[in-house]
């Protein structure tokens, strides 16, 4: 067991190299069955100590604010913070490599055996369970809106526009987003 450094060198010791960024995010991607964020926090804050818990929360806040996968944005933000553009590329490649390979492997297996009744039934059940994951996530996101009639109305309007009328998202999303930001800004302080 190495004893932890006790002086100010510590921070610079934990500044990751390009290779370190790649391997760190590779481990996050490959271990993240059923959710990547807990692994990201554990790897970045506890194991490799690139960021403090508060810094990680700050980075995550930014990444949830921006479009794109949260963890993908985290890899870009962390990679570029320590090693600029090359660091961002190394982190994102490390993160994506294993999951893309695994998911394509699963796809190939599915294609091979999709005709067999047992496999078809297993995948039908898997798909039904997977939709429950999205329903759960949406209910959790929607929970803080309870009792706020304006916010709930905007969520309902979004649902009708996208799921019922099936408006194109590039058309509906900017209008809904701007309207929602302005309405909540004016009427809900």
């Amino acid at each position: 067991m190495a004893s932890p450094p006790s002086d100010g060198i510590r921070a610079s010791n934990n500044r990751p190299t390009i290779t370190g960024l790649f391997t760190g995010f590779f481990m996050i991607g490959v271990r993240g069955f059923g959710g990547v964020l807990p692994w990201a926090r554990r790897t970045i804050v506890e194991e490799r100590q690139w960021l403090s818990a508060a810094e990680f929360t700050e980075v995550l806040g930014l990444c949830q604010f921006l479009p794109g996968g949260n963890i993908i944005n985290v890899s870009v933000a962390v990679g570029s913070r320590f090693r600029g553009g090359p660091g961002a590329v190394a982190a994102i490649l490390g993160l994506m490599l294993a999951p893309v390979a695994i998911v394509i492997g699963l796809g190939a297996i599915y294609d091979q055996f999709a005709e067999q009744p047992v496999v078809r039934r297993a995948f039908a059940s898997l798909a039904a369970a997977a939709s429950a994951f999205v329903l759960t996530a949406s209910l959790k996101i929607a929970a803080p809106l309870r009792g706020r009639w304006l916010a709930m109305a905007i969520a309902a309007l979004t649902f009708v526009a996208i799921a019922v009328i099936r408006l194109p998202l590039p058309l509906a999303m900017p209008v809904l987003a701007v309207a929602s930001i302005l309405l909540l800004w004016w009427f809900e302080v």
């Binding site: 059923g34 944005n73 999951p99 998911v103 798909a127 997977a130 996208i162 799921a163 929602s180 930001i181």
Partner: protein, 175 residues
């Protein structure tokens, strides 16, 4: 040029900057484009690909590479993923530098608050469309309902739930 990868690449480049809350909020648009507009697959195949992506580790964007793979093999998978990830990553790269200056600005909080109901509506839409595609009979609908209750009320590991569901289907108890 009529190669299906061209519209698919353009679609993902565009969706990248609209995916507030990750890939799940753009699922309705992906399904609309891939199934209804370009007829690249059935809604059931789309739902099956989504289920596969859910069973794999990593970011929740994996369904995107599966769509590309389903349409055009390995090159399709890589191309769609690159298209989906690049615009949002470039934006993150640029914004991350300026972030500390305006992290406490009131307009930033206003934007975050305003996006939440829209994201919630988009995720509910995704859920509704997926459930519509995966409820092939009443037992699968019951499975979706049971898993939702389980996930909302317990801290059970997601992979355990997915594995259990697949086994229930394989032995013929549901589906």
């Amino acid at each position: 040029m009529n190669h299906p990868l061209l519209p698919l690449s353009l679609l993902f480049l565009q969706m990248s900057l609209l995916a507030f809350g990750g890939a799940n909020s753009i699922l309705p648009e992906l399904q609309r484009q891939v199934v209804d507009v370009h007829h690249l697959m059935t809604p059931h195949t789309f739902a099956a690909l989504f289920a596969l992506a859910q069973a794999a580790p990593g970011p929740n964007m994996m369904v995107i590479s599966l769509i590309g793979w389903n349409v055009a093999g390995l090159s399709g998978a890589i191309l769609t993923m690159v298209c989906a990830v690049t615009p949002s990553s470039v934006l993150t790269f640029l914004v991350a530098r300026a972030w500390y200056r305006f992290r406490d600005a009131p307009w930033r909080r206003a934007i975050q608050r305003g996006l939440l109901p829209v994201t919630a509506g988009l995720l509910l839409s995704s859920a509704a469309l997926l459930i519509k595609a995966t409820t092939l009979d009443w037992s699968l609908g019951l499975l979706t309902a049971a898993v939702t209750v389980l996930l909302l009320t317990t801290r059970i590991h997601p992979m355990l739930v997915l594995g259990g569901a697949a086994v229930l289907g394989a032995v013929g108890m549901v589906g």
